[in-house]
């Protein structure tokens, strides 16, 4: 077994990073629209995506959910397409289409045969500026998003608690408001609310076109200039300086009780810095810290709470660095039956303190870096995930260079960087701790 391990360490050191971005080309149209082309010629398929630098956190107060509502409404009519004709056309061409909304971006995509790209671009450019909505569209589609909220949130105690935790973590920033919207505001969303958001944010100089698959950059450029290049930029587009958080000065806590909870757990979020243009090293250290602490079977929390103390059925740590504004670092412990949430939280706190007080396991860091290097190879098997990586980054203020440097920034993280990142983020005064529990469990009365 020792020889085995030694052998593997040798392999680890011999591995050199392989970059996925050799297949990537980027350019900008005269009207300010950014374009990224990711080539993969293995199959005659293309993914056409338009990303807008606008999400739920760019909404005005009082109309929460309007970014996502508008996303649904973009499948209604334009000057030249009947309501529903967009998706019907994609289907008639043997393709699939959909869209998604997050805090910082809204994105639309079609997967089609590569020779149908031109039609997709033509339609996507059309609905960027020519959307035509009427009151009837609004009323039924508003019912649909409320059912979507029912499905995603109201039927899930865990989702309801996360919504409360985000609201408590972000007192002033719109990250504290759910992407889908607060129900009472969703019920009042109007045609004008949707159109206001549309005319403010939907313009070529606020969009990124990502085309991934069996395409060549010159062809994409010609199509993009033909269909998107002719659209006028919005001269009134404002910089995205959204209301920011005040300093958090005290820990915040909540207990969320719901009779539907079968498996209580404790979760903690800490405010944490995000990836910033030209400045990603802290985010890289936090990314590796999350893996070390809660990334898998051999993570620190898992070894401590599952294997040694046998208190937990699950532990995890999460950090999502790709965010326009201040993000969060999360730690979760799901205790085994018979262990209270207080005991679980105490054990979690002790483990975090011990982690910070002890030597960081260098071999573990090396395993994580090896996996990150390998993920560059595995990522080339899915141009869709590469397309999403670029789209997310470019709509959260990062540049192409930031995306391409990120693997090297991760590899350059040192033990000292990880420790410093932990000291920065594990600050009780910047935390929210939540208990998810049911009224009948022993937690209910605590």
């Amino acid at each position: 077994m020792l020889r085995f391990l030694t052998l593997m360490l040798g392999l680890t050191l011999a591995t050199s990073p392989v970059h996925a971005f050799e297949q990537v080309t980027d350019f900008q149209l005269d009207n300010g629209m950014q374009v990224v082309v990711i080539e993969d010629h293995r199959a005659p398929v293309v993914m056409n995506m338009v990303w807008y630098r606008a999400g739920s956190a760019d909404e005005q107060p009082g109309v929460s959910g309007v970014a996502h509502f508008l996303e649904h409404l973009l499948f209604k009519g334009t000057d030249t397409l009947e309501s529903g004709e967009f998706s019907a056309t994609v289907a008639a061409n043997g393709g699939r289409d959909n869209a998604f909304t997050s805090y910082d971006y809204t994105a639309y995509f079609q997967r089609v045969a590569a020779d149908r790209l031109e039609l997709m671009m033509k339609m996507e450019a059309d609905r960027m500026v020519n959307l035509r909505l009427d009151e009837a569209d609004i009323l039924t589609e508003r019912d649909v998003i409320i059912e979507e909220r029912n499905q995603r949130t109201e039927n899930s105690p865990g989702a309801l608690m996360r919504e409360q935790m985000d609201g408590v973590q972000y007192l002033n920033h719109r990250y504290g408001v759910p992407i889908i919207g607060w129900r009472h505001e969703m019920e009042q969303l109007s045609l004008q609310d949707a159109l206001d958001y549309y005319t403010t944010y939907y313009a070529p100089n606020n969009a990124v076109l990502v085309v991934a698959g069996d395409v060549y950059p010159d062809d994409v450029r010609a199509l993009a200039e033909t269909y998107f290049g002719v659209l006028p930029p919005n001269p009134d587009l404002e910089p995205r300086d959204r209301p920011q958080e005040p300093p958090q000065t005290t820990p915040r806590r909540l207990v969320f009780e719901d009779a539907r909870v079968a498996q209580p757990y404790v979760t903690r979020s800490y405010l944490a810095p995000e990836r910033n243009p030209g400045d990603q090293s802290t985010a890289a250290a936090l990314t590796i810290l999350a893996e070390l602490l809660g990334g898998g079977t051999t993570s620190f929390l898992n070894e401590r709470l599952q294997f040694d103390q046998k208190l937990a059925v699950y532990t995890g740590a999460f950090y999502r660095g790709t965010s326009l504004d201040t993000t969060s670092f999360n730690v979760t412990v799901v205790p085994i039956q018979g262990v209270s949430l207080q005991e679980a939280e105490d054990a979690m706190d002790q483990a975090l303190a011990d982690f910070m007080a002890s030597e960081i396991d260098e071999a573990h860091v090396e395993r994580i870096k090896m996996q990150l290097r390998a993920s560059q190879i595995y990522a080339r098997d899915s141009v869709e995930s590469l397309a999403n990586r670029y789209g997310r980054a470019l709509t959260t203020s990062l540049t192409i260079a930031d995306v391409q440097e990120w693997p090297d920034v991760l590899q350059a993280v040192t033990i000292e960087d990880i420790r410093a990142a932990g000291e920065l983020v594990f600050n009780e005064r910047q935390s929210v701790t939540g208990w998810l529990t049911s009224p009948t469990s022993e937690e209910g009365s605590q």
Binding site: M1, A43, T80, V112, N155, V313, A374, D381
Partner: protein, 432 residues
Amino acid sequence: MRYLLIAALTVILTLPARAEVKIQEVTSPGGITAWLVEEPSIPFVALELRFQGGASLDAPGKRGATNLMIGLLEEGAGELDSQGFARATEALAARFGYDVGDDNASISARFLTENRDEALELLRLSIIEPRFEEVAVNRVRQQVLAGIRSSQNDPNDIASRAFDAATFGDHPYGSALQGTIDSVGALTRDDIVAAHKGVLTRDRLYVAAVGDITAAELGPMLDELLANLPETGAALPDKVAPMLDGSTSVVEFDTPQSVALFGQVGMERDDDDFFAAYLLNTILGGGGFESRLMEEVRVKRGLTYGVYSYLVPKDWAALYLGSVSSANDRIAEAVDVIRAEWSRMAAEGVTQEELDEAKALLTGAYPLRFDGNGSIAQIMAGMQMQGLPIDYIATRNDKVNAVSLEDINRVASEFLNPDELTFVVVGKPDGV
């Protein structure tokens, strides 16, 4: 511009992309057959192993044994304990997935060219020499029990369990493959060892590989990996006739949105009418936004975020299922609309235009599936389990296009059975 788009719609008679996947059949020196696609452009291999039978091989009274066994394969093997195995896998950046369904167990592996032999040795240990140590059994058992408790309060899971129990009774399909709190609590290490011997066997094995490996390399590799599997496995279950009475039953659960599962008898994969039924389902509820159910329930009435139907040809029974979720005060209307659409299609069939659109969607979307080593390996393993020929991919769209309006409308009237369409609604529905 509108005119141009309409013109574009009407000229699409021949769809473009043909899936070109060059599959080779490889037989190892030891007699293991595999389907291979060589794809050297990225230095890794996706390997897919399937074992027919899956959780339906659970011994009587041992429900959940196969599931727990599969969950334990990566929890210690050979001389490595659970953490040792995980560390070794991480160090190689190999990715192993172990899963089980009603009809098969699956092992999905991705490993780098640069350390292929070491990764395969780890994979071999997990398949052939798992340790099933008591401490690991008990830890993973706790995880499974936590999952079972959670599913008891999940409206989707409650609906599936109620629907399956009513439809299949004592057959393995009638209960959740995770088992119950009692059955999983009572499983012993011997039960796990027996499940291992009975499920992962040579006679039920199907193999597919895609990536940076040649046919000459694959054969010996498979012998090294799998030669020590037992020859034969536990007895397969019998066929079962679904019991579906057309009722609408309610499982009370206090939650704001009701979840409904519905279904009737399905269509076998090898039935001559399978493609007609497949197109029929695409038009009724399988075609995403373009389906009738989506149009009637979501687009026109705003009753749901999504409504879908799907053919489920399992090994020992075939079902035709669907699902919808609506607020408690709206689910009754959703159920009524679905029943009405089922009856309308059974009585009136589909139009030529609908059939043409469904063909365009299915034939055009088919090549989009073959978009990565991992997905191609999974598809090839599935094809072998279904008994499809190795040249199937090139001929599949022709089979779709061969369905005539007369065929599909005959199948609509014979196959769709509104009187048998059975609903289980979980929630606090009004008026159901």
